[in-house]
Amino acid sequence: MIAPALAGFATVSPAATVAAATAANLLAARTQMAITLGFHIVLACLGVAFPALMLLAEWRGRRHADPDALLLAQRWSKVVAVTFAVGAVSGTVLSFEMGLLWPGLIGRFGAAFGIPFALEGIAFFLEAIFVAIYLYGWRHLGGRAHLLSGVPIALAGAVGTFSVVTANAWMNAPAGFTLDANGQVASVAPLGVLFNGATGYEVVHMFLAAFMVTGFLVASVYAVALLRGHRDHATRLAFLLTFSVAVVATPLQIAVGDVAARAVRDQQPVKFAAMELINRTGSHQPETIGGILVDGHVVGGLAIPDVASLLSGFSPDAVIAGLNTVPQDQQPPADVVHLAWNAMVGIGTLLLVPAAWFVLAWWRRRELPRSPWFLRLASLTGIAAVLAMEAGWIVTEVGRQPWLVYDVLRTSDAVTQAPGIVVSLVLTSALYLVLAMTTLLVIAGMARRWQHAALSDADVPYGPREATLP
């Protein structure tokens, strides 16, 4: 009795009007998902790594009896309170959107795809509980108890990264389920879902990205302060702590990215072909920087002979599959994927310059580089890291198109049939624009008040109770 109704999720009505509505919905739904996820991913990075930096500062403050480090931890915890709240609600929007925008994904594959999210539910719960205890416990919890109350936040952040990224990995390398004759999920092997072929490299890549984004972003704020002449101990310590974490993550990230690229070549050859802008299968593939495909030929850009083959197969003779191994309607928009890939790799590599400069200066003199150019460069690393991370996310998401679940479910078959998604897109865009600007303004206002307090030592309405640290 139920079966015909359920089959509604497996097939798309062939009627032309429905197809047209679907096409309009598809573009609107993809754009809305891109905006909301593109916004949330930055807050997710902050949610994972900022508490760890905050704990690092508190640990240092207590261990070395350094009031400046404790002050930093306390101020950062107030910023975490804001970013965590905004991240919690923007994350909730994403869980609504799973059904609002992609009922065809959940309706068919929720039984498999949902499992990592159930795990994330636990992680987020623990995070919310201990964030509250940590934030509100500065005054009445003992020093050790307070520091300990922060540890579950960092652990839950790591588990949360694992679960959410695992869900994304599953879309790239679907596993752990069987389908029946109607195309419905017939059985699910939960561990197969969780530990799919893309889980390992995607999780580590995103985890390091969170530390790069947060480390560079926070460090760049203090780099600007240093440039403006605030050379006090607290500012220098804040820069050192956050920048060092990002500097450690950067080379690791490049190594993991290298492994990931080769895994993508094996698991999703068409995505890899788009990344490298390779139309025809063959050996001696050049590494193309910039450029677009016109009628299957690369136009513009700089082609470095044999390098793509060398990098991915360690030999100029290594064969790389081209886009043309699949019909046109199964190819992603290669130009977007390729340029985003260039941007991610390019920015990631350039970030090594300030990192190496810093390491060299520290190694030789135990001091920050003296040149103001270092600080100018460092003040750009935050934006750069965010751009690289967003570009990487475009590579993985747009590169998977037209599939939502690789080789199994097309994005167009998953989108909602509800009318008026365009209206929702417009409203959502406006809301998120205001939300993003307000979040930045509010945090900037807090920073300004703190700076003012540091100069004049005046009591500010919502400033931390600096004089009464436990």
């Binding site: 999720f9 929007v93 869980s95 999210f117 719960f125 509980i129 509250a132 009445h140």
Partner: protein, 349 residues
């Protein structure tokens, strides 16, 4: 008991906790909205902020928990509900964004103008969110969700007497719970004036909520036959329990037994939520999809059972720690709660 039934119990437990805990946080926004001008509303708003601050994110997580359990264990139900109820649930999502960010921003923004703005955003969205969530539940309960991708009518499915009623009932019930909890919070802080302030409001909100619930039964009789029949047969003991708890809570509150009143008020709301579940059993979407027909394969349900046990072992004690610390006033510092910035002459309107 079958595996789908077991997961449905977990789902309903999460929903009940969200109603009892998260609902009260929305109710806090309601009382914030009607607290009056800057000076007049200073004291109640400070209490509301202290009471909600440490717990709202944890309480909000019950909603996410339930969404995730629903889409994993009963994927078709989730997809059908979300796609048919696109309009109210999109509005609820907007409300969630505005409520949470408005509340967080108000706490840290320095100027009175900003506090007014974010306070208003927080308070108004605290009304809209439970209304639209309640309206969506009304649409489900009254059997207006056919199975499939946006198969139900985007408007007629929820612009109904039942949805209107459940939406308003959600707002009223939230306000009632919040007021009762705030009476206890004010008592704990030894603030006699605020205790009386919220006691009056709790009694009024309790009477309004009770009256709405009675009207609701009449509406359900006309508009949601299957649910009405369930509520007046299988669900009847729970409905009577709810009435008893609600009445007792009012009496205790009037006599000043604040802490037991809190438990009975929560019990009254919980009994309605559980009663709804019992009334529409064995359907998840009344008369279109049963729990058994909509359930995920056994491997998924087994995984969810394990995850639920782990969750109970980890979240239970953690949440207990949070609430104990909170109730012992260990999670606040004098002056750290939200206070209105003193009105400077150029900001005075």
């Amino acid at each position: 008991m079958s595996a789908p039934d077991l997961v449905a119990i977990v789902l309903w437990a999460g929903l009940t906790l969200y109603a009892v805990l998260g609902g009260a946080d929305f109710g806090g926004g309601f009382w914030d909205l009607v607290a009056g001008g800057d000076e007049q509303g200073r004291a109640p708003r400070a209490l509301i902020d202290l009471a909600i601050g440490p717990v709202w994110e944890a309480n909000h997580t019950w909603l996410i928990f339930d969404l995730v359990i629903l889409w994993t264990a009963f994927p078709q139900a989730f997809a059908s509900v979300m796609s048919t109820l696109f309009v109210p649930l999109t509005l609820a999502a907007f409300g969630i964004v505005l409520r949470g960010s408005g509340f967080a921003f108000r706490k840290v923004v320095g100027r009175l103008a900003g506090q007014r703005l974010f306070g208003a955003v927080f308070a108004i969205s605290s009304l809209l969110t439970p209304f639209f969530l309640g309206a969506a539940l009304g649409a489900i309960a009254s059997g207006r969700i056919p199975v499939g991708n946006a198969v139900g009518d985007p408007w007629a499915s929820w612009l109904t007497p039942t949805s209107l009623l459940t939406g308003v009932l959600a707002v009223a019930g939230s306000a009632y719970l919040a007021a009762v909890y705030f009476v206890a919070d004010a008592r704990r802080r030894g603030d006699v004036e605020l205790e009386a302030y919220f006691r009056r409001r709790a009694l009024a909100a309790g009477l309004v909520t009770g009256a709405l619930a009675l009207v609701g039964l009449a509406v359900l009789h006309a508009d949601a036959t299957y649910l009405f029949e369930g509520l007046t047969s299988r669900g009847l003991p729970l409905i009577l329990l709810s009435v008893a708890c609600g009445g007792l809570a009012l009496v205790l509150l009037a006599r000043g037994s604040v802490h037991p009143a809190r438990g009975f008020a929560a019990g009254a709301v919980a009994a309605v939520v559980v009663g709804w579940g019992v009334a529409q059993y064995p359907y998840l979407l009344p008369t279109t999809l049963t729990l058994a027909a909509g359930a995920a394969p056994v491997g998924t349900l087994a995984a969810l059972t394990v995850i639920t046990i782990v969750a109970a072992l980890l979240i239970g004690p953690s949440l207990g720690l949070l609430f104990v610390l909170d109730q012992r006033s260990r999670l606040e510092a004098e002056g750290e709660g939200f206070q209105w910035t003193s009105v400077s002459p150029h900001e005075r309107r």
